[in-house]
């Protein structure tokens, strides 16, 4: 079968599998989310339960998780899948609002935060790596390599906590939490945008500082390997300008393997935001997810879970489809799959 069609089907199948998995989790598992939600409601309900109360509770559970326990299993299943596919992820028990609306409100903030972190850490890491490779063996290279190795082994939340403590609490340079300046109105106005950027500084720095090292080392390794290739030697003999060789020959070929890395980082961006946003009190998706766990807000947890896995699947799908455009050797993707 044609590779593209196969790959697309595979992605769709994964999406479908994830949805089914959440259904199984909610419906079938004994003591699973549905059971515990019902128990929760019963607990909240003071006094003895009449049949009417029971019915009411069941109805609440049903609207919240999109599953009507009275239907036969397959109908429940079909209903669930179709409502998820039409964007209905149920009702949040804590926020008393549709899960989808909650996610959509938070989404841009997290994309903004993680997007700038990923972009910066890749851009800086790649530049640094390329410089290290060109200065291979010099003090600069050795110094930067050791620094990068060290920084890669430090978890970002440690840096994050340190930054909040010193730059936030002690010296008061940066806000310690929040995502925008108070008393500003969202929109394209300077005070709002400046406030947003100001709040972004610390979390972005903590991700970039720790994430950059790994990228730099990877880029350095790739570049050194490419520089040893025959075609670089031939290019030099052909008298090409050093700039052309650095960018079109070494850079271009060293970047290829980084692309899959980048798409992976994009795919896991929401998962990675959970702790980061919690530390900085940044009201994004990650924080929403974190609080949903604390609040035992099951529909919301499920919605977040679906969102995270979908992003991963889609990012990898895009990576596979576009890789062939970057590397002409991989035309139909036969020999390259991210996973």
């Amino acid at each position: 079968m044609n590779w593209y069609i196969r790959r697309t089907l595979q992605a769709l199948l994964t999406v479908y599998g994830v949805i089914t998995f959440t259904f199984v989790l909610i419906r079938i598992m004994p003591g699973g989310p549905m059971e515990s939600m019902r128990a929760q409601l019963i607990q909240q309900h003071q006094g003895s339960l009449t049949t009417e109360d029971m019915e009411r509770i069941n109805r609440i559970v049903e609207t919240r998780v999109n599953i009507d326990p009275d239907q036969p299993l397959y109908t429940q299943y079909v209903d669930y899948v179709s409502s998820v596919l039409t964007g209905d992820l149920g009702q949040s028990t804590w926020h008393q609002a549709p899960v989808m609306d909650l996610l959509i409100e938070r989404l841009p903030w997290t994309i903004f935060l993680m997007g700038s972190s990923i972009t910066l850490s890749f851009a800086l890491g790649i530049t640094l790596g390329a410089i290290m490779a060109y200065k291979e063996g010099t003090i600069l290279d050795v110094g930067l390599s050791s620094y990068s190795t060290f920084m890669t082994s430090v978890p970002y939340y440690v840096v994050a906590v340190l930054l909040v403590y010193f730059l936030g609490y002690q010296w008061d340079y940066f806000p310690i939490q929040g995502r925008m300046a108070p008393q500003t109105t969202p929109g394209l106005n300077y005070p709002f945008l400046a406030g947003v950027a100001y709040h972004l500084v610390l979390p972005v720095i903590s991700v970039v500082i720790t994430g950059m090292g790994g990228r730099a080392l990877a880029m350095r390794g790739n570049s050194v390997r490419v520089m040893g290739d025959d075609f670089i030697r031939v290019a030099r003999l052909r008298g090409l300008k050093p700039r052309t060789i650095a960018i079109q020959y070494v850079g271009r070929n060293a970047l290829l393997p980084m692309y899959t890395n980048l798409m992976l980082a994009v795919g896991f961006m929401f998962g990675g935001a959970i702790i980061l946003e919690e530390i900085f009190g940044y009201r994004g998706l990650g924080q929403l997810m974190y609080s949903s766990i604390g609040n035992r807000d099951l529909p919301l947890m499920m919605g977040c879970f679906l969102l995270i896995t979908m992003t991963v699947v889609i990012a990898l799908f895009i990576a596979d489809l576009t890789y062939g455009k970057l590397d002409p050797r991989v035309q139909s993707g036969e020999r390259h799959e991210s996973f």
């Binding site: 079968m1 044609n2 590779w3 593209y4 290739d229 025959d230 075609f231 030697r233 031939v234 290019a235 030099r236 003999l237 052909r238 008298g239 090409l240 300008k241 052309t244 079109q248 020959y249 271009r252 070929n253 290829l256 970057l326 590397d327 002409p328 050797r329 035309q331 139909s332 036969e334």
Partner: protein, 726 residues
């Protein structure tokens, strides 16, 4: 022009030197000491000549190439003078150029074609970009330059636009190599240094490229320095030869002079170790010992540890150049005695009497039943391309019928990608055919496996009867088992009535038979304690212990040294007689195929694009090839007597067509020099002429065929729509 007076090498051999190399050394500082990979070289290169430089790997020949362009990679240090004389009489020392001068000098004056042409292009850029950026970097006119590029590419038998629009990986090895040659000539340089430009290509492609280099040299008037380990290649190409040993030139002279009267013991040894299709393989001898370590070159004459004529004087004093005549210099004290001391192997014509086959042709007897029968076997692999494209089928094996008789030796040859390995695997049941059938003594192998119909010979028995020896013995044996253990397994598995003692006796006996003595010692060794040849013997024993009826030897000796190959083939033949097995021997090398089939009275099959185009006894195939493709393969196999000097490439196109879209009619018609219009429409079949072993698939072998009245095929490719009649 500056006059250089301290000429001490071959200056008298040249009148108008383009290069004067003086005292050139290349040294690397290593922990163990200084490594001298080029040792005080002096050499003049004449303007417009083809200088062949020959040497073993590790002799310093690539360093010599690099030093001509001052392109020695750091930390190597280039010392001495490399004087380059331009046509209008100016001299520059290439070692003293500034970076910018050097950047201009390279490619405009002297360019280089590399050993690793396969990786000489940036994989992410189109070929066209490579040409354009080179022109751009040297401020040349892009349009004129690209016109020249197109002309160069078509001179090299390539389709310019198709090649320019390709990415490097879309071209075959031979095409890439020729494209690189075109790229090297883009700026009209005076000199091209070619470092092993044909290594890793099929013989036919190598020979074709060598011809093209000669032609192109005449047309564009360049000086070529051609560096290789392959002496026969140079015999037909070079005007002068320089033989390199231990980082210096030990003999320099006109090609004819060196081939006819080699005066250095090393040159003679080199000539004697060279395979030759017409000379008996028994005479081939490898050179004893190994090339010296650059950190620790022997004192005196560096060849003395390996030289059979060495005396104390050789150890003490380094020989200078002795002139054997005005055009021939040699670094050996005793060059006058070499004729007697190291006789050259007898050359071609004198030995061309066919050995009487030891066993007589087996295939002749029609009353015998074949061990293995391929009936119209087909193996098509699918490969999909692009978004909505129909998947193409690669027809690796396309409708082959072949009988292999008891005790017969059949050698299959053909260029890489012709499907010979797939055919071999299909024959022994490792590859399921997508069409046709494969049967063992009348029992269809795959029916037996699937349990279809009446199974007369169980699948287990068939598997035991069909064995394989791989190209790389190292990967075929478990490195963690002793030889004894490796050999015991098949015996236990297939022959469980043997008791311990019998098994041991058998294994030891076999080891002894193949010359691994004392057998007890070898039995307890692990694979890493064995040499390549010994490992190959172990795999051979393992195959034989199964008491097979047919063994597939897939390039089984290609990885061995030249001298070991003969030994291994002899061993196979001896054992074949003892064990009554047939051999299917796959090789890309005509000389080996000839040796093994000639000695056993076997047959040679020639494959092209998934089909057998000619099959017959050695004598029929080598001395009387009928198919034009077989003729071109024979043409391409090295022979030192230079009879083919002025012959053109016996092909219209030198690239193998895409196996996904094979040509209509006769598959060879796109390359066949004899092709006529009929060939593009009709497909010839493999036929013999009455009870003969010789079968050919070409209309030229059919008298009164419409082919003979058909007009000659024009050079342009017939369109794909040409209907095919069967």
């Amino acid at each position: 022009m500056k006059e250089r007076l301290h000429d001490k090498s071959n200056a008298q051999q040249t009148q108008d030197p383009i290069y004067q190399v003086r005292n050139v050394s290349v040294a690397f500082d290593m922990d163990r000491g200084t490594s001298r990979v080029l040792d005080d070289i002096d050499l003049d290169i004449e303007r417009g000549e083809i200088l062949g430089v020959v040497g073993e790997s590790g002799s310093g020949k690539s360093m010599f190439a690099d030093s001509l362009l001052n392109a020695v990679v750091s930390p190597g240090q280039l010392g001495g003078e490399v004087i380059y004389n331009t046509e209008d009489g100016q001299s520059v020392d290439v070692t003293e150029l500034t970076d910018e001068e050097l950047r201009k000098f390279r490619w405009q004056e002297a360019s280089m074609v590399f050993q690793g042409a396969q990786d000489s292009f940036n994989p992410t850029r189109k070929i066209r970009t490579h040409f354009v950026e080179t022109l751009d970097a040297h401020d040349a006119d892009i349009e004129d330059g690209m016109d020249r590029a197109r002309e160069l590419l078509s001179d090299l038998y390539l389709e310019p636009d198709q090649v320019l629009n390709s990415y490097p990986h879309e071209l075959s090895g031979g095409m890439k190599q020729r494209t690189l040659i075109a790229l090297s000539m883009l700026l009209d340089p005076e000199v091209i240094v070619m470092d092993e430009p044909t290594a890793a290509l099929d013989l036919l492609m190598q020979q074709s490229i060598v011809r093209l280099i000669r032609e192109i040299k005449g047309k564009y008037d360049v000086t070529i320095i051609f560096i290789t380990h392959d002496l026969p290649l140079l015999a037909e190409l070079a005007d002068r030869l320089a033989v390199m040993y231990a980082f210096e030139f030990v003999e320099i002279g006109l090609t004819d002079g060196i081939l006819e009267e080699p005066s250095h013991p090393y040159t003679r040894a080199l000539l004697n170790s060279t395979p030759n299709i017409f000379a008996p393989v028994e005479d081939m001898t490898a050179i004893e010992g190994s090339a010296p370590d650059p950190v620790n070159v022997p004192t005196g004459c560096s060849y003395h540890p390996r030289c059979p004529m060495a005396t104390d004087a050789c150890v003490e004093s380094d020989p200078g150049y002795y002139e054997t005549n005005a055009n021939h210099g040699v670094k050996c004290h005793y060059w006058e005695d070499v004729d007697n001391a190291i006789p050259l192997q007898v050359t071609a014509d004198e030995t061309r009497q066919v050995d009487v086959p030891a066993y007589g042709p087996v295939a002749m007897g029609t009353d015998r039943t074949p061990v293995l029968t391929l009936d119209d076997a087909e193996v098509h692999f699918e490969s999909s391309q692009g978004l909505f494209a129909e998947p193409d089928a690669v027809r690796a094996v396309d409708g082959i019928s072949l009988d292999i008789y008891e005790n017969e030796v059949i050698a299959l040859i053909g260029e890489s990608g012709c499907g010979k390995t797939t055919l071999g695997k299909t024959a022994i049941g490792l590859q399921r055919p997508t069409g046709g059938s494969v049967s063992f003594r009348g029992q269809d192998i795959w029916d037996a496996k699937d349990g279809h119909g009446d199974v007369e010979i169980p699948h287990e028995a068939i598997r035991q009867s069909l064995q394989i020896i791989h190209q790389d013995p190292g990967s075929a044996i478990n490195p963690n088992r002793t030889v004894r253990h490796t050999l015991e397994l098949p015996l236990k598995h297939y022959n469980d009535e043997l008791d311990m003692g019998d098994r041991q006796a058998r294994i030891l006996g076999m080891l002894e038979t193949v010359g691994m003595t004392p057998p007890e010692d070898y039995a307890d060794r692990y694979p890493h304690q064995l040499s390549g040849g010994e490992k190959q013997r172990v795999t051979l024993i393992r195959a034989l212990l199964m008491e097979p009826d047919l063994i597939l030897a897939d390039e089984a000796i290609s990885a061995l040294d030249v001298s070991l190959r003969v030994e291994m083939m002899d061993l196979m033949l001896d054992l074949q007689e003892i064990f009554d097995t047939a051999f299917l021997f796959i090789s890309h090398d005509f000389s080996n195929a000839r040796y093994i089939t000639e000695k056993s009275g076997g047959r040679i099959g020639v494959m092209y694009l998934g089909e057998i185009v000619e099959i017959g006894t050695v004598d029929e195939i080598i001395n009387n090839p009928k198919h034009p493709y077989t003729k071109s393969l024979v043409w391409a196999t090295p022979d030192l007597d230079e009879t083919g000097e002025n012959e053109d490439v016996p092909l219209r196109k030198i690239d193998i067509p895409d196996a996904r879209n094979p040509p209509s009619g006769c598959r060879f018609h796109t390359r066949c020099p004899e092709a006529r219009e009929t060939c593009a429409r009709k497909k010839p079949v493999l036929v013999g002429d009455g009870g003969n072993t010789h079968e050919v698939s070409c209309f030229r072998d059919v008298p009164n065929h419409e082919y003979w009245d058909s007009p000659e095929l024009m050079n342009d490719e017939p369109s794909d729509e040409t209907p095919t009649e069967k």
